[in-house]
C-alpha cells in the first residue's frame, strides 16, 4: 500500500514537472568589453526546482539574488498553480569575441529542463561604459549623479550572531517612469531579518529611500555582502523626434549596482564563557511565573519562562529546568514574538511547561538561569529568574489503596483494569474445622485395629502350634504305659477271646504304640513306612529289624490256620511286651 502511494506521488510529481520552463534573457546581445550584461533566468511551472548554473569560461558571473512570483489561473475550469523564480545575474565578459551563454538547467522528476543558449558578442570597447561619479564620501555607490544606490552597514566588525543593520539607500533627483525593481544583495552566511517599513526622506536635494535589513552572522570569518541592484525605468528626455516618445515615456531601464561590502565576523571570546552558554548574543532578561501558587497534588501548574531582549530571538535555546522528582514534567511548548520597531530586532521567546506536583508540602521550582553574550561590553552575562515556591495541598488520592501494588500482567487480549480481592463465597455447603484426629482416642484405637488383629492372629497361631507339639509329646510319653496296660488287660483273666480276635487286639496295641511314638495314626501304616521312620529315630538296626519282624509275625499268625506252626498266644504277648520295653529304652 505504502509503495503504491509512493509510486502515485512520484508519478504525479513527474506529470506535474512536465510543464516547467526555463528561459534566459539578456538585456543586450552586443556589448563593449568592460560592459556588463544583465542576465535573467526564469524558472516557472507548477514546481520550481533549484537552478543549476553552468560552467562559464568566458564570463565572470555574479549572482544578484532571486525572487519568487506565484500565480493561480483557471483554464477550462481547472485550477493550475504556477510559480516562477527569477534569478538575476551579472555577467562580466573576460574579453572581446563571440561567446555563448550556456544553458541553465533544472532537474525535476528525472527530467532535465534547459534554457536556450544565448549568443553574445563583445566588441573591443569603443568607449568605456559610463561610470558614475561618486557622491561625496560614499564608496559604495554607482549610477549617475541623478540616481545612485549605496549599501551601508552600521558596523563592519561584528561578533557571531551580533546583528548588523544593513541599509540599502536609493538616492534620486529625477522622477522615475515606473517602480524600480530591487534585487537584494547576496547575504550568504547571515541570518536575514527584513526591517520594514522603508524610510522615505530627502537629503541634499535627493529623494532617499532606505531599506533596512538586520543580518546575523552565523559563523566567524570574512564575508562579502554582494551587490544590491536596482533597475529603474528612467524617462528619456530631449529626444523629441518622436512626438509620442516624450509623452508616452520613452523610458529606458537603468541598472544601479552597489559595491560589495566586506564584513569581518569575530568569534565569541573563549575567555569567561560559561559552560551553559548556548550561543545567544544580545541583551536579554528572564522571567519565570506560574499560573497558580496554591495547588493540590496531581493538579497541573503551568510554568512560563520568558526570555526577552534585543538580539537574534530565534537562536534562544530552551533554558534548563532542573526539577526534583517531586514534580512530573510534561512537554514544553515555545512561542516566539519578534518585534522590529525602531529597526532593531527585539522580542521574546516564551516556554510553557506543565508541571504536576506529586507530593504535598512546599515545593520549590529552582531558579532558572540563562547565559548570553553582550557585544556591547563584550562579556558573558548570566541572568536568573527568582525561584518559585508552590504550596501543594494533598489532593484526592487516586486509588491510593492500590498504589503500591505490583504492576499487573497484561496478557494480549485481556486488559486488566484494576484488581481486587475475589468475591465472597455463598452460604450453602460449608467446610468446617474439625477436631484434631490425632488427639482423638477413638481415632487412635481405630487406627491401631489392624495391629491388634495382626498381633492376635500371630498369638493364636503360636498357641495352636505349641499345643499341637504338646499333644504329640503327651501321646509319645504315654504310649508305653498305655500299651503295657492294654497288654496286661489282654493277658489277664476273664474270658479269653478267640485266637484271631486276640491276635488282632495284640497287633492293634503294638501298632498304636508305634503310631503314638512317631505321631502318626496307627491305621494305614505300612511296614515300609514304619521301617523308614524307625531307622531315622533308632540306631540299632537289629532292634528295627526285630520290630518290623514282629509286625510281620503278628500279621502272619493272625491269619495263619490255627495250630499249624502257631505260636502260643502267651509267647507272642510276651514278645510284644519285650519289644515295646526295648523300644522305649532305646528312646523311640
Amino acid at each position: 500500500m505504502k509503495k503504491l502511494i509512493l509510486a502515485l506521488i512520484l508519478f504525479s510529481g513527474a506529470a506535474v514537472s512536465d510543464d516547467i520552463t526555463v528561459t534566459a534573457v539578456v538585456d543586450k546581445n552586443l556589448v563593449n568589453s568592460g560592459e556588463r550584461i544583465a542576465l535573467q533566468v526564469t524558472v516557472s511551472g507548477s514546481s520550481t526546482p533549484a537552478l543549476k548554473v553552468p560552467q562559464m569560461n568566458d564570463f565572470n558571473l555574479y549572482a544578484g539574488g532571486q525572487r519568487t512570483q506565484s500565480s493561480f489561473s483557471f483554464v477550462n475550469g481547472k485550477m493550475s498553480n504556477s510559480s516562477s523564480v527569477i534569478y538575476d545575474y551579472t555577467l562580466n565578459p573576460k574579453g572581446p569575441g563571440k561567446f555563448t551563454i550556456p544553458s541553465f538547467t533544472v532537474e525535476a522528476g528525472g527530467k532535465v529542463f534547459k534554457s536556450a543558449p544565448i549568443q553574445v558578442e563583445v566588441v573591443k570597447g569603443a568607449q568605456p561604459p559610463p561610470q558614475a561619479a561618486r557622491p561625496d564620501g560614499q564608496a559604495q555607490s554607482t549610477g549617475g549623479n541623478d540616481l545612485f544606490v549605496q549599501v551601508n552597514l552600521d558596523k563592519y566588525r561584528v561578533y557571531v550572531n551580533e546583528p548588523v543593520i544593513m541599509t540599502f539607500g536609493f538616492y534620486n533627483r529625477v522622477n522615475l517612469a515606473g517602480q524600480p525593481q530591487y534585487t537584494p544583495p547576496d547575504t550568504t552566511g547571515f541570518w536575514k531579518e527584513d526591517l520594514p517599513p522603508q524610510i522615505n526622506s530627502s537629503r541634499n536635494g535627493y529623494n532617499v529611500v532606505e531599506l533596512k535589513t538586520a543580518l546575523f552572522p552565523a559563523s566567524p570569518g570574512q564575508y562579502t555582502i554582494g551587490t544590491a541592484s536596482l533597475i529603474c525605468p528612467v524617462p528619456v528626455r530631449g529626444q523629441g523626434e518622436d512626438f509620442f516618445g516624450g509623452i508616452f515615456g520613452g523610458a529606458k531601464n537603468v541598472r544601479l549596482d552597489s559595491k560589495p561590502v566586506l564584513v569581518t565576523v569575530l568569534p565569541l571570546p573563549e575567555e569567561g564563557r560559561p559552560a551553559d552558554f548556548s550561543g545567544t548574543v544580545g541583551r536579554f532578561g528572564i522571567s519565570a511565573t506560574v499560573d497558580k501558587r496554591e495547588v493540590k497534588t496531581n493538579d497541573a501548574v503551568t510554568l512560563t519562562i520568558g526570555i526577552s531582549g534585543t538580539g537574534n530571538i530565534k537562536t534562544i535555546a530552551e533554558p534548563k529546568l532542573l526539577l526534583s522528582d517531586e514534580f512530573k514534567k510534561y512537554e514544553t511548548v515555545s512561542e516566539l514574538n519578534i518585534n522590529k520597531d525602531n529597526y532593531e530586532v527585539k522580542g521574546s521567546k516564551v516556554y510553557k511547561t506543565v508541571l504536576v506536583p506529586r507530593k504535598a508540602g512546599k515545593l520549590a521550582i529552582p531558579s532558572i538561569k540563562y547565559t548570553y553574550f553582550d557585544p556591547g561590553d563584550k562579556k558573558y552575562h548570566t541572568i536568573s529568574a527568582n525561584p518559585i515556591i508552590l504550596n501543594v495541598a494533598q489532593g484526592p488520592k487516586e486509588e491510593s489503596n492500590y498504589a503500591n501494588l505490583p504492576s499487573l500482567p497484561q496478557a494480549e487480549g485481556v486488559k486488566v483494569f484494576g484488581s481486587d480481592i475475589r468475591f465472597i463465597k455463598p452460604a450453602g455447603k460449608y467446610t468446617f474445622a474439625r477436631a484434631l484426629l490425632y488427639k482423638s482416642t477413638v481415632f487412635l484405637l481405630v487406627s491401631l485395629l489392624p495391629f491388634f488383629a495382626w498381633i492376635s492372629i500371630l498369638g493364636g497361631r503360636k498357641l495352636k502350634s505349641s499345643r499341637d507339639e504338646n499333644a504329640v509329646y503327651f501321646k509319645a510319653s504315654r504310649a508305653y504305659s498305655k500299651a503295657a496296660k492294654s497288654l496286661k488287660a489282654l493277658g489277664g483273666g476273664g474270658q479269653k477271646p478267640g485266637r484271631e480276635e486276640y491276635l488282632g487286639k495284640l497287633e492293634a496295641v503294638y501298632a498304636e504304640y508305634i503310631g503314638n511314638k512317631i505321631n502318626r495314626p496307627a491305621a494305614g501304616l505300612s511296614l515300609g513306612e514304619i521301617k523308614e521312620i524307625l531307622s531315622k529315630r533308632l540306631k540299632d538296626p537289629e532292634l528295627i529289624d526285630g520290630a518290623v519282624k514282629l509286625f510281620e509275625e503278628l500279621h502272619f499268625q493272625r491269619y495263619a490256620p490255627a495250630g499249624n506252626a502257631s505260636k502260643e498266644q502267651g509267647s507272642l504277648l510276651s514278645a510284644v511286651r519285650d519289644l515295646i520295653g526295648r523300644l522305649d529304652k532305646a528312646g523311640l
Binding site: 489503596n401 503500591n404 501494588l405 505490583p406 484488581s419 481486587d420 480481592i421 475475589r422 468475591f423 465472597i424 463465597k425 455463598p426 452460604a427 450453602g428 455447603k429 460449608y430 467446610t431 468446617f432 474445622a433 474439625r434 477436631a435 484434631l436 484426629l437 490425632y438 482423638s440 477413638v442 481415632f443 481405630v446 487406627s447 491401631l448 485395629l449 489392624p450 495391629f451 488383629a453 495382626w454 492372629i457 500371630l458 497361631r461
Partner: protein, 244 residues
C-alpha cells in the same frame, strides 16, 4: 473388620458439622450492599454461633479487607486456609492482602513451591492418610502370615516405605503445629519492646498484617518471634490475634 473401622472413621468426621445458619446469608447480603463493617460483625456473630467454616472465615476476611482492616483480613484468611488449604480463592485473597503489608521479609524459610506442597493437606487429612497407610501395612503383614510369597513381600515392603514417609511428614506437621503458635498483627504499626514493661523504649515496629509466632504470654503481653527477621520482642496481647 476394616469396613467396620471405615464406618467408625466416617462417623467420627462430621462430629462438629452443623447445619448452615441463615446468619451467614444475612451477613452476605450486608456485604453485597457495601456495608462492610456491619457485614464483618455479622460474620463474627455467625462464627461465634458455631458456623466456623472456611467460607465464613473467608467472607469475614473479605469484609475486613473492604473495611481496610488488613490485619484482621489476613488473620481470617489464614484461619480459612487452615481449614481448607487447597482453596484457590482463599489463597488468592490472602496473597492479595499480604501485598498491602509493608513487609519485605520472606514469609517462610521454605520456598513457595515446597511450602505449597507442605501445606497441601490438613493435619486431619494427613492423619487419615497415615492411618490408611498403617492399615495397608498391617494388612500386608497379616496376608504374609498366610502366604509367604513374593507378592506379600513386596506388599509389605511398599507399605512400610509409604507408611514411614507419611509418618515423617505428618510427624513434622504435628510437631510444627504443637510447637508454633502463629498470630497476626491486627493493629496499625505496633511497637515491640525488649521487655514486657510499658516504660521500655520500642525495639522495633510491626506492620499491620505481619505474621508472628507467640512464644510466651505474661500479664497482657506476648513475646513474639519474627521468623524471617529472626528477632524477638514483647507486644501487647490485644495488638495481635492468634490464628488458632
Amino acid at each position: 473388620m476394616r469396613s467396620l473401622a471405615k464406618i467408625i472413621i466416617l462417623a467420627l468426621l462430621p462430629v462438629t458439622m452443623l447445619s448452615a445458619d441463615s446468619g451467614l446469608d444475612a451477613a452476605n447480603k450486608l456485604y453485597e450492599s457495601g456495608k462492610y463493617t456491619e457485614a464483618a460483625a455479622a460474620y463474627g456473630a455467625a462464627i461465634n454461633a458455631g458456623n466456623a467454616g472456611a467460607e465464613a472465615y473467608y467472607n469475614l476476611g473479605n469484609a475486613c479487607f473492604k473495611d481496610k482492616k488488613i490485619g484482621f483480613a489476613i488473620l481470617n484468611y489464614e484461619k480459612a486456609l487452615a481449614i481448607s488449604p487447597r482453596d484457590a480463592d482463599i489463597k488468592y485473597n490472602l496473597e492479595f492482602a499480604r501485598n498491602f503489608v509493608k513487609d519485605n521479609a520472606v514469609e517462610d524459610s521454605a520456598g513457595r513451591f515446597l511450602n505449597a506442597v507442605y501445606r497441601f493437606l490438613t493435619l486431619n487429612e494427613l492423619c487419615a492418610l497415615l492411618a490408611a497407610a498403617f492399615y495397608l501395612l498391617m494388612g500386608g503383614l497379616i496376608f504374609r502370615l498366610y502366604r509367604k510369597d513374593e507378592l506379600s513381600y513386596w506388599l509389605v515392603s511398599g507399605a512400610s516405605v509409604l507408611f514411614l514417609l507419611i509418618l515423617l511428614f505428618s510427624g513434622a506437621r504435628v510437631l510444627e503445629y504443637e510447637t508454633n503458635n502463629p498470630a497476626i498483627v491486627v493493629l496499625l504499626s505496633v511497637e515491640a519492646k525488649s521487655a514486657p514493661i510499658d516504660a521500655t523504649p520500642a525495639a522495633f515496629t510491626l506492620p499491620e498484617g505481619k505474621k508472628v509466632y507467640i512464644l510466651n504470654t505474661r500479664q497482657g503481653w506476648a513475646e513474639v518471634l519474627l521468623k524471617g527477621e529472626n528477632i524477638k520482642g514483647w507486644v501487647k496481647q490485644d495488638s495481635i490475634a492468634e490464628i488458632r
